[in-house]
Amino acid sequence: MKLSPALLVALALGLAFLYLPIFLLVIYSFNDSRLVTVWAGFSLRWYGQLFQDAAFLEAAWMSLKVAVTSATIALVIGTLAAYALVRLGRFRGRMMMIGMVQAPLVMPEVITGISLLLLFVTLNFDRGFGTIVIAHATLGAAYVAVVVQARLVTLERDLEEAALDLGATPAATFRQVVLPLAAPAMLAGWLLAFALSLDDLILASFVSGPGSTTLPMKIYSQARLGVTPMINALSTIVIVAVSILVIGASLLAKGALIKGEHRAD
């Protein structure tokens, strides 16, 4: 079947809609003028200002630390959950696990945020780095579980059974057979959890404490005041970094990202 011209136009317009705002943002981050919509020549001054702003750098460092830590915890929990759901047959709590893995994907973030904060208050946790990590790891684990599950479902059990028949313990089988086969999906899951954490404003706003401002919280407080070229510059850096990461990972994982993604429904 051929692609009709109407369909091609619809696809092109749709992609233009998705990318035009991002392109405008990137282009005008190099604008010399403070007025964001008037072009006054190429300049890197906003990038220079950005790298001299200690508060932004501190928030960026905080976000990176939170993202790496929470994505790693999410990877462990999400992978175990996916393995349990796909490979361990029936167990008590299975339905509950299915629900707890799927619900965070659609739950409005204000509800998750408010409920986590109330938990931390009830348990008397000090709010800050640790509580943001817990919040992001919990959300990330759900995404990792979905992506890894999609991969495990497609794997034949033969190799695992052969390993078990040859006397490997279940733990050794998991380490030496399942993990290498699931690695591309796990990488995709880690990246997804990392990106979600780096991006999250709402959960972080609810569960952060004094002195633990993340980058999105900083961007948000500036964006409320209107468009500033410095935020455009910062956004450009984030966009370029994420694009390189995603395109690189998808090339590395030979499409595991994409396969994981469209099964995520």
Binding site: G14, F17, G93, M96, P170, I258
Partner: protein
């Protein structure tokens, strides 16, 4: 699970099951019970700012239950909360339909594109979704404001004389939601359309059905699971959206997610914010549970 026997120690299997179950139970499920509990409390000036559920009498003995339904009565009786919920449902529903109209042809074209284009097209749709949500919403401020790109372009084309006021209206909120959630709608649609058996369409054509009839009677019904999955995936989070109405909407754009935020952070009324959250959860999750049951049956 393996039963208890002498010398039993928690093994690999138990660890793989228990660790996720305990973590998600503690940090995802338990918090909702606490929200439920606090929604039954009274807002007080203290730390934490709500009354205890169980009031222990001073001389010992059984505690008295301090639960009250006042917060739910406020949610039901004060026009503001009901209106903001209905408003959020309406904005999310309209945006979902618009997304469906934009995403369906895109997903259809992607599914029919030459096989070697598809990974690149898929990546092109996924990439914006990985890019910061906040930044993508922020980008629209510069486009939609009075002296923004859109008005600039329309005026230099001579289509309008004075700038259109779009930013800080419901229009901007709809645009923001459609833009931000579009990839979530395209992906499930693409997944079902790509699996569609083309021989069914050929059979329909062979039997004399014109293409539009083949589409209506074969393609559309077969892609229904993708339509349902995509719609739920965008509708539910969109109802609770806070960032988009806050950055793009006006002061009269009241959506329930923003109201929860305001009650919590500005008015510091934790019990009322909890009651609104519980109400929102019931309204949103009930249809989901019923639908799942229906699909599984």
């Amino acid at each position: 699970m393996t039963g208890w026997r002498p010398g039993w120690r928690p093994g690999w299997r138990e660890a793989a099951i228990l660790l996720p179950l305990v973590w998600l139970g503690l940090f995802f499920l338990a918090p909702f019970l606490i929200v439920l509990k606090i929604s039954l409390a009274e807002s007080i000036l203290a730390q934490p700012p709500y009354s205890p559920l169980l009031v222990w009498p001073e001389g010992g003995g059984w505690p008295a239950l301090g639960a009250r339904l006042d917060n739910y009565l406020v949610v039901l009786q004060d026009d503001l909360y009901l209106r903001s919920l209905l408003n959020a449902l309406r904005i999310a529903a309209v945006s979902t339909v618009v997304m469906l109209v934009i995403a369906y042809p895109m997903a259809y074209a992607m599914a029919r594109a030459p096989r070697n284009w598809r990974p690149a097209l898929l990546l092109a749709v996924i990439l914006p979704f990985w890019t910061s949500f906040l930044i993508r919403v922020y980008a629209w401020i510069g486009i939609l404001k009075d002296e923004g790109f859109l008005n600039h372009a329309l005026m230099s084309l001579g289509l309008i004389d004075s700038p259109l006021v779009i930013l800080n209206t419901d229009w901007a909120v709809h645009i923001g939601i459609v833009y931000s959630y579009l990839p979530f709608m395209i992906l499930p649609l693409y997944a079902t359309l790509e699996r569609l058996d083309l021989t069914l369409l050929e059979a329909a054509a062979d039997l004399g059905a014109p293409p539009w009839k083949g589409f209506l009677q074969v393609t559309l019904p077969m892609s229904l699971p993708g339509i349902v999955a995509g719609s739920l995936l965008v509708f539910i989070p969109a109802v609770g959206e806070f960032v988009i109405p806050d950055l793009l909407g006006g002061s009269d754009t009241i959506m329930i997610g923003k109201i929860v935020w305001i009650e919590f952070f500005q008015n510091a009324d934790w019990p009322l914010a909890s009651a609104i959250a519980v109400t929102m959860l019931v309204v949103l999750v009930m249809p989901l549970v019923i639908l799942r049951r229906g699909l599984q049956a």
